[in-house]
Amino acid sequence: MFDARKATRSVTHRLQNAGDGSLKPGSILQNRYSIIKVLGVGGMGSVYQARDLRFPNVTKYVAVKEIINIADPSMREMVAKIFEREANTLASLDHPAIPKIYDYFNQSDRSFLVMEFIDGKDLETYLNEFPGLLSEDVVIGWAIELCDVLSYLHNHKDKDGKPDPIIFRDLKPSNIMLDQHGSIRLIDFGIARAYQAGQKGTMIGTEGYSPPEQYRGEASPAGDIYALGATLHHLLTKQDPRIEPPFTFAERPIRKSNPSVSLELESIIMTALNYNPAERFASAEAMKQALKTLRRRISGSLSRPAGTGRIETAATGAASQARPTEGPALVNLSEVTPLWVFRCEDEIRASPVVSGAFVYVGAYDNNLYAVNAADGKLAWKYATDGGLPAPPVIHQDNLYIGSEDHRLHAVSAKSGRLQWTYYADGPIRAAPRFADGHIFFGADDHYLHVVNATTGRKAWRYQASDVIRCRPVVSGDRVYFGCESGEFYAIDLRAERKWMFRAKRGITSSPLLHNGTLYVCSLDGMIYALDASSGWRLWQFRTNKPILSSPTIDGNLLLVGSADNHLYAIDIRNGREAWRFATNGQVNSSPAVIGGTVYVGSVDHSLYAIDVASGRLRWKFTAKGPITSSPAIANNVVYIGSFDHHLYALTA
């Protein structure tokens, strides 16, 4: 992490300079300790390896920790206090993982602490030098030893036998040594302090490993347990928490970077890393017992031939935990029963439209059906001479629908009686749009047609470079639409082109205009966000297959299906994926949202109801044929058509 406070930086700098020029090899302290080399330079001084000259016949090494002079008197006093506390703390402790203290003295305005020399490597160095990832059983062994020493410190008693817990406060790989016997040793007790419940202290520790409450000055045994969790996470993932965003362990699952780790160990570490101290292990001892139980189970399973049983269990568990939004098969569902079903004579590919008391839907049997929304009974039907692949648009009393018979039909929404028809020069497979008294629609004759809604007469038309299958957007004096060769046009109401954009393949999906931005999806698999006034691309997002589905927006999320079988939720502010939901077939249906739930059909025959915020499945309904039709929602009822010739009404 960067520390922007230059004051801190310059202090550290000064200390380091002083430390660098401190004791030269060969210097002798107290006529006894002969300096051999610098082991490390810390924030307050250096640590040296020295030889104890009182043992002339054997080579006995000691570690000498030094505190150098600081000009600032208040700072000097604070540092001296910390140092003295370390000496006193260490002198009162007796545990195999804690280095022994031999001596403490002042010499030429410096303080020195003489300690047991640990011949080994700190875990940070060890980890950095270790090729690949550490194995679970090695780390569990260390963790148990660390819990043991933490437990010893937390249960420390003063000389009168009263509880006097010591909090280590700065547990991290660089403060843990692995000695020549492979045992764990804690070093640097510089900031360890006796714990008085409820008393706030100064925040000292290392960012990345320190628990959230330590930043409020609270140090407790639970804080050491958190730091142990952070240390274990670092050891197993090789992701240094000091360079990751703070408190993001949960967002960086251990098993994602180190799949050999068991679900149980991951769960133990995440328990230690709970934000809330009360939700961590109650004590280091409790954590140690959990680790020991796990170790027994693992060594048991490892002794089995191949030892695959554990991995299988873990893998299954991971799938359901790590990818809750994917795969409907993992979710326990109760199937939904329709309110009613209406049968047509051929496939329903188009989306139904609800208006007033009726649901209108076109089918490939050439008929437009008006069905009573309440009970699914036929009110009327209107026959064209071609298939009806796109939904109608309704304005006031009239309904307008394009047909493969080359005509746009205007019929009475109440009775289905014909008002007028308008001939294009090719089949009409695109949905129309009503605006300013006119119907705007594209056709396979490459034209965008603009027709007077009352008279059915042509107002104007605009030639695109290919077939138009999407529903145009009309806003202000602009009309936006794409065509099958990938061009996307912004024209004004005088049919003059304002700007143009080109996708790599056709644009069949209908564009969406939302707050000055156009969202255009293409058969090239991309979602493009374009500034509506200038055509500038704001962002793009790639799915893996063509997009036929038309997008919708809920809050900051754009929802759209792709032929890669997924429904996507994309953050409209930056084009980044919020979640994706996997179905078992292409999602060419356009999603519809109401009340925090998005409804979308899939070629796998199902209609899915998915929670918009989380991307989790709420329920699904399975028809007998593919669903490419988009759901229409009104009065808490979802209407959806299927290739199985049926229109279904389902409770939302």
């Binding site: 992490m1 960067f2 520390d3 922007a4 406070r5 230059k6 930086r9 310059s10 700098h13 925040m203 960012e207 959230p212 409450e213 930043y215 409020r216 360079i243 990751e244 965003p245 703070p246 408190f247 934000y275 061009e487 996307f488 082109r497 304002k498 700007w499 143009m500 954009f501 080109r502 707050n515 000055g516 931005t517 966000a529 500034d531 006034s533 200038s534 055509g535 500038w536 691309r537 704001l538 962002w539 793009q540 502010r573 930056n574 084009g575």
Partner: protein, 311 residues
């Protein structure tokens, strides 16, 4: 750079060509340090918020001060604007960058300077050619979010290479027409004032912000926390820098503010908002904000750039 833009436009224009854009009819001055002329606003009108800017132009204000404690300035500020009018007007374009360096010993100012210049260079290189092309036939325009991501990544690489010990915050705002694309790393802030409300657009990449989001610190505790300026994300940190990039439409007349922590950590948001509302001009607002930060002690460099959209 703006001269460069003007020159380029001039050269692009050739007599008899129908496809090339005409010359801009005017240009805004990104180096405006002179206060804008008073626009006849009465003192009692201050709650009506704004002197009306000329309706078709960006209005830019900026101010920078070393503060009361520091001896040198580690903040960097860049502002470019451009416009083109005529039959096929080009959208107004503006690029505003604030970077706040850290590292001491001149490293901070080198880092912020390199980061700001690199960001601006990459953005302008990618955006200007398309900006000056005919919108009716140019469909190869880059994705602006990607341009910003590219630019901040390049700034990070350059700082790592040239100032390995330094780091910097980096907040860049590209405005094309009424679309804002903001990229952000660190704790420099961007705010937008529209419809009488001030909203913070950026999230500080700081330890205390993260603690606040987790409910571990209150606003008051965060404001005095000894580690309040510790960042977990900064340009210069090496591999894997993840910048926040957002696009958003600005409503007519909105004001975008970008400022270093030398301002926002000293002057609370509601006071910033109040000063902006009561200032006779955008430039005057910038100067008043710097004064307010200095009056509050000015422990750090203070940088603020403000732009108001036509409206």
């Amino acid at each position: 750079m703006f001269d460069f833009l003007k020159k380029w436009m001039g050269q692009s224009r050739s007599p008899g060509s129908e496809t090339l854009p005409p010359l801009p009819s005017s240009s805004s001055d990104p180096d405006a340090t002179v206060p804008l002329p008073e626009l006849g606003l009465r003192a009692s009108d201050h709650d009506q918020i704004w002197p009306r800017p000329s309706p078709t132009r960006f209005t830019v204000g900026l101010a920078q001060h070393v503060g009361q404690v520091r001896t040198h300035n580690e903040d960097v500020l860049l502002a470019f604007t451009g416009e083109l009018r005529g039959l096929e007007p080009m959208p107004h374009i503006g690029l505003f960058v604030v970077a706040d360096g850290m590292g001491g010993h001149l490293l901070g100012e080198r880092a912020s300077g390199i980061a700001g210049r690199t960001l601006a260079r990459v953005v302008l290189e990618n955006v200007l050619p398309s900006l000056l092309a005919d919108p009716r036939s140019d469909y190869e325009r880059p994705s602006l979010t990607e341009v910003m991501e590219l630019a901040i990544a390049e700034a990070n690489r350059t700082v790592v290479r040239l100032v390995p010990e330094g780091g910097t915050t980096l907040t860049g705002a590209l405005i094309v027409g009424d679309q804002l694309i903001l990229c952000h790393v660190g704790d420099t802030r961007a705010y937008v004032i529209s419809n009488g409300r001030m909203e913070q657009l950026t999230r500080d990449h700081s330890l205390v912000q993260r603690l606040k989001e987790m409910g571990q610190l209150t606003d008051d505790e965060a404001a005095v926390h000894p580690q309040r300026s510790v960042l977990y994300r900064a340009v210069g940190q090496g591999e894997g820098l993840e910048a926040d990039v957002i696009s958003r439409r600005l409503s007519p007349g909105s004001i975008l503010i970008i400022c270093s922590d030398g301002l926002w950590s000293l002057v609370p948001d509601h006071i910033i908002h109040q000063i902006v509302r009561q200032s006779p001009s955008i430039q005057g607002a910038c100067e008043s904000l710097v004064r307010a930060a200095n009056e509050a002690g000015g422990p750090d460099n203070i940088t603020v750039v403000m732009v108001q959209l036509p409206g």
